[in-house]
C-alpha cells in the first residue's frame, strides 16, 4: 500500500454523490512552468505586467475563433445535470470540480467583460473582475479537469467543459502562466521527438532488445523496425510503449500482429510519439506543429498507411484532428482510412480469419475493459458509430475466455476517466489523481468482488500509467492493469520461418 499524505477515499460498491465541500481541493495546483519551458512554445516566460488586459484580449480572440467557447459560455441554464458527472467532483467533493462550477470560473469573467448584463449588473448575474485570486482559481481548477468530456454527454446543450479548460490554459499560457508538466514535454517533442525524451539510438537499442526477447520466447523472428524507408505502414505509438510496463507488452503485441499479417511496417524516430500535448494546453499552433511531425515522417519514409498504437487522447487528435492539422493525406493508399487504430487493424484481420489464437494462454486472467475517455467520447473506430466500444471488446473476446464488463453506467460513452488524463499525469497532482480514480475503481472493485475479475485491459498510455500508480493506494496490485495488445500477444499463434520477407505482401486488413 502506497503511503499518502492525504485521505484515500474508501471504495464503495456504487459511486455515491457526495455533499458539496467548498474549497476541498483549493490547495491543488501543478508546478508552474519555468521560463525555459515557455519560450520554445511561443509563450512569455513569466506573468506579464499587464496580464489582466492581455488575458481579456486573448479571451476575446478565442471567442472569435472557437464557436464552442462562445456558445457554451452563453448557453448554460444551470440545470445541474452535469453536477454529479465529473470523477473529480465525485472523488474530491469540491463544487468547483462540478463541470458547471468549473465553467463558471471562466463564465463570470466572460460575463463581466463581454456581456451587457455583466457590465451593468455584475452581482446579479454572478460576473466578476479578473483578479489575481480568480487567476489562481483558474490555475488550480482548470488543472483539475482531464478533458474527458463526460459532462458533455449529459448536458442538454452538449456543453463540453474540456473546451473551456483548453481555452483557459491557452489564455494562461499567453500571459506567462504555464503548467510545467505539459510545456516541458512539448518542448521535448520538438527537440528529441517524443514525450519521454528518448533519443533515436536508444530506441534502436530497445527495439533490438525486444526482437531478441520475442525470439527467445516464441522461436519466431518478429521484427521491430525503425526508420525503414519504403515500409508499407508507419506505426505511431506513445513513447511509453518503448519500455514501461505494461505498455511495452502492447508494442510486442502490435509487432506480432504485423508479423502475422505479413505486412512491412516501421516506427519513426522523428515521430516517435503518438500523444499530442498541444491539445491539453488548447494551443492550436502547438498541436499543429506536433502533428506535422507525423506528416513529415510519413513522407520521408515513403509509407502507404499510418497506424496508431494504443493511446486515448492521442487517438482523439489522430482520428478527429489529424486530417485538419496535417492533411490532406492524398499521397497515402486511399483504400484505408488515415489514420487507422491498431485495434481496427487487428480486428479486421480477426474478421478475415487471418489470426490464430490460443485463448487458454490468457486463462490465468479474468478480464474487464476500461473504455478510455477520449476514445469513447471523442473518436470512433470502424465504420459505425460505437465501433470504439465494440472493436476492443471483440478483440478481447477473440483472445480471452473470461471477460466481464463493469457496471453499464461506467462504461462506453458513460465511462469514467482514469483520473490522469488531460495533462494531469504528474506527481505534483497525485492527490487529485488518486481521488479522481475513485469512480472507476469503485466499478472495478465491484466486478472483482462479484465476477472474480483479476485484470483490467486498457488502450491508453495515460490510463495504463495512471492505474499502475494509483491502484496500490486502494490496496490493489499495480500489474492488474494490462495492455489490450498484451492479451493479443499472449494468445496469438505465430508461424515461424521467413522473417526477413520484405516483398510486398498482400495488403492486409
Amino acid at each position: 500500500m502506497a503511503k499518502a499524505t492525504f485521505d484515500v477515499p474508501e471504495l464503495t460498491p456504487y459511486t455515491e454523490v457526495p455533499a458539496v465541500t467548498p474549497g476541498a481541493m483549493a490547495h491543488s495546483a501543478p508546478f508552474v512552468s519555468k521560463a525555459e519551458f515557455q519560450g520554445p512554445l511561443g509563450f512569455p516566460g513569466e506573468l506579464v505586467e499587464d496580464w489582466q488586459t492581455r488575458a481579456i484580449d486573448k479571451m476575446g480572440e478565442l471567442l472569435g475563433k472557437y464557436r464552442s467557447l462562445r456558445v457554451y459560455l452563453d448557453s448554460c441554464v444551470k440545470c445541474g445535470a452535469c453536477t454529479d458527472k465529473c470523477h473529480y467532483f465525485l472523488g474530491t467533493q469540491d463544487p468547483k470540480n462540478m463541470p458547471v462550477g468549473r465553467q463558471d470560473l471562466m463564465r463570470k469573467v466572460y460575463r463581466r467583460y463581454f456581456t451587457l448584463g455583466g457590465r451593468l449588473f455584475p452581482k446579479l448575474v454572478g460576473a466578476e473582475d479578473f483578479t489575481k485570486e480568480v487567476l489562481d482559481d483558474w490555475y488550480s481548477y482548470f488543472h483539475q479537469c482531464s478533458q474527458c468530456r463526460r459532462c458533455s454527454v449529459f448536458c442538454p446543450y452538449g456543453i463540453d467543459t474540456a473546451e473551456i479548460s483548453m481555452a483557459a490554459r491557452e489564455i494562461m499560457d499567453s500571459i506567462g502562466v504555464g503548467q510545467k508538466y505539459c510545456n516541458e514535454i512539448i518542448g521535448k517533442v520538438y527537440k528529441i521527438g517524443n514525450n519521454l525524451g528518448l533519443p533515436g539510438p536508444a530506441l534502436v537499442d530497445t527495439l533490438e532488445g525486444l526482437e531478441e526477447d520475442v525470439f527467445d520466447e516464441t522461436g519466431v523472428k518478429v521484427r521491430y523496425p525503425i526508420d525503414e524507408e519504403g515500409a508499407e505502414i508507419l506505426l505511431v505509438t506513445p513513447s511509453a510503449d518503448f519500455f514501461a510496463e505494461p505498455h511495452v507488452d502492447g508494442l510486442i503485441g502490435y509487432g506480432k500482429v504485423f508479423h502475422a499479417a505479413g505486412v512491412s511496417w516501421t516506427l519513426s524516430s522523428h515521430a516517435s510519439e503518438a500523444a499530442n500535448f498541444g491539445m491539453f494546453i488548447g494551443s492550436y499552433d502547438n498541436m499543429r506543429r506536433v502533428a506535422q511531425r507525423i506528416r513529415e515522417a510519413a513522407i520521408a519514409l515513403k509509407v502507404k498507411r499510418i497506424v496508431f498504437g494504443e493511446c486515448g487522447h492521442a487517438w482523439r487528435v489522430a482520428y478527429s484532428f489529424l486530417n485538419t492539422l496535417a492533411g490532406p493525406w492524398d499521397f497515402l493508399d486511399p483504400r484505408y482510412p488515415v489514420p487507422q487504430h491498431i485495434c481496427e487493424f487487428t480486428h479486421d484481420l480477426i474478421e478475415q480469419g487471418r489470426l490464430t489464437f490460443d485463448k487458454s494462454e490468457n486463462d490465468d486472467k479474468v478480464i474487464t475493459f476500461h473504455d478510455s475517455c477520449n476514445v469513447a467520447r471523442a473518436s470512433r473506430m470502424g465504420e459505425v458509430p460505437g465501433g470504439q466500444f465494440e472493436i476492443p471488446r471483440a478483440i478481447i473476446r477473440a483472445t480471452c475466455n473470461h471477460f466481464y464488463d463493469m457496471d453499464e453506467d461506467t462504461i462506453r460513452d458513460r465511462t469514467f476517466c482514469c483520473g490522469g488524463g488531460g495533462g494531469l499525469l504528474t506527481d505534483d497532482l497525485i492527490e487529485l489523481r488518486v481521488k479522481g480514480a475513485k469512480p472507476r475503481l469503485d466499478a472495478l472493485n465491484n466486478v472483482m468482488q462479484e465476477k472474480g475479475v483479476t485484470h483490467m485491459a486498457a488502450i491508453c498510455a495515460i490510463c495504463k500509467s495512471q492505474f499502475t500508480k494509483v491502484l496500490p493506494y486502494y490496496g490493489m496490485e499495480m500489474d492488474q492493469i494490462v495492455s489490450l495488445h498484451q492479451l493479443v500477444s499472449n494468445a496469438i499463434v505465430l508461424e515461424g520461418g521467413e522473417d526477413d520477407d520484405e516483398e510486398d505482401a498482400p495488403a492486409a486488413a
Partner: protein, 253 residues
C-alpha cells in the same frame, strides 16, 4: 387611458425590437464564429440526416438531459411543453383570422399553462433542495424562474378568476401592427402580465435564455462524425497553412 395604451404600445415596440435585433446579432455571431476542429460528442451520427435526427431528439425530447437527470428532465420537459402549448394558444391574439390548428389547440393551451407552472415550481424546488444545484444558482437564476412563474400565474388567474376583455386585447395587438394602438383594458392583472412578458422579451437575448438558439450551434451536437473522410478546415486555420509550411523543428520532413 390613452397614456396607458400609448406607454404599453411603446413598451411592446421596444421589447419586440430588442428581442429581434438582439437575437439576430447573437445568432449571426454564432453562425460566423468558426468551429475549427471536429468535436462531436461520440458516438455521433456519420451523416447530415443523422445529425438532424439527433438534434430533433434533443429539441423535442431533451435526450441528453434524460440520460443526465430524470427529475430535472421531467420538470424541465413539462415546463417547456407547457410553454409551447401556451405560446400556440396565445397566437390567437396575434393573427386574424385564427388558423384552424390554433383554434383546435385552445383547450390544451390551458392545461399547458398549468403544466408550465408546475414544471417551473419543480425546477425551482431543486434550486433549494439539491445542494449542488443550490451552489450553482445565482440571483438571476431565481429571478428568471420568478418571472416565468409570475407570468404563468397571472395568466392563469385571468383565465380562471379575474376575467379580462380578450377581444380588446386582440384589438390592441392587431392595432400595433398598423401603428394604430387601440385602447388596452386597464385591469391590473393584465397590465402586470403584459409588463412581465415585455421584460422577458427584453432580457431574452442577454440572458441564459440564449440556450434556445445556442443548442442549434453546439458543435458537440451539430457536427457530423466524418473527420477521416472529409478534411475540415476553418478559414483562420487555412490562413496558417498558407504561411510557411508549418514551423517544423526538424529539416528531415
Amino acid at each position: 387611458m390613452a397614456l396607458l395604451t400609448y406607454s404599453y404600445a411603446a413598451l411592446f415596440y421596444v421589447a419586440a425590437l430588442v428581442l429581434v435585433s438582439g437575437l439576430v446579432v447573437k445568432i449571426v455571431r454564432y453562425a460566423r464564429t468558426p468551429a475549427p476542429l471536429k468535436i462531436p460528442t461520440t458516438p455521433a451520427p456519420t451523416s447530415r440526416s443523422g445529425v438532424a435526427l439527433r438534434m430533433t431528439r434533443e429539441v423535442v425530447l431533451f435526450e441528453s438531459l434524460f440520460r443526465g437527470n430524470k427529475w430535472t428532465w421531467i420538470f424541465g420537459w413539462i415546463f417547456h411543453f407547457g410553454l409551447f402549448l401556451v405560446t400556440l394558444r396565445h397566437l390567437r391574439y396575434f393573427i386574424e383570422p385564427v388558423w384552424a390548428p390554433i383554434a383546435l389547440v385552445q383547450p390544451f393551451g390551458i392545461y399547458g399553462g398549468i403544466a408550465m407552472v408546475i414544471g417551473l415550481l419543480g425546477l425551482w424546488a431543486r434550486r433549494f433542495l439539491v445542494d449542488r444545484v443550490r451552489y450553482i444558482s445565482s440571483t438571476s437564476d431565481h429571478l428568471m424562474l420568478a418571472l416565468l412563474v409570475l407570468i404563468g400565474t397571472s395568466g392563469l388567474l385571468m383565465k380562471f378568476v379575474f376575467h379580462t376583455d380578450v377581444v380588446a386585447i386582440k384589438r390592441f395587438f392587431l392595432g400595433l401592427y398598423a401603428l394604430d394602438p387601440q385602447p388596452l383594458p386597464a385591469d391590473p392583472l393584465l397590465l402586470l402580465h403584459l409588463l412581465l412578458v415585455a421584460l422577458l422579451m427584453i432580457v431574452f437575448p442577454y440572458s441564459k435564455l440564449l440556450h434556445a438558439p445556442g443548442l442549434f450551434f453546439s458543435p458537440t451536437r451539430n457536427q457530423v462524425d466524418d473527420p477521416r473522410e472529409r478534411r475540415h478546415l476553418a478559414p483562420w486555420a487555412r490562413a496558417l497553412e498558407q504561411q510557411a509550411p508549418a514551423a517544423s523543428s526538424d529539416p528531415r520532413g
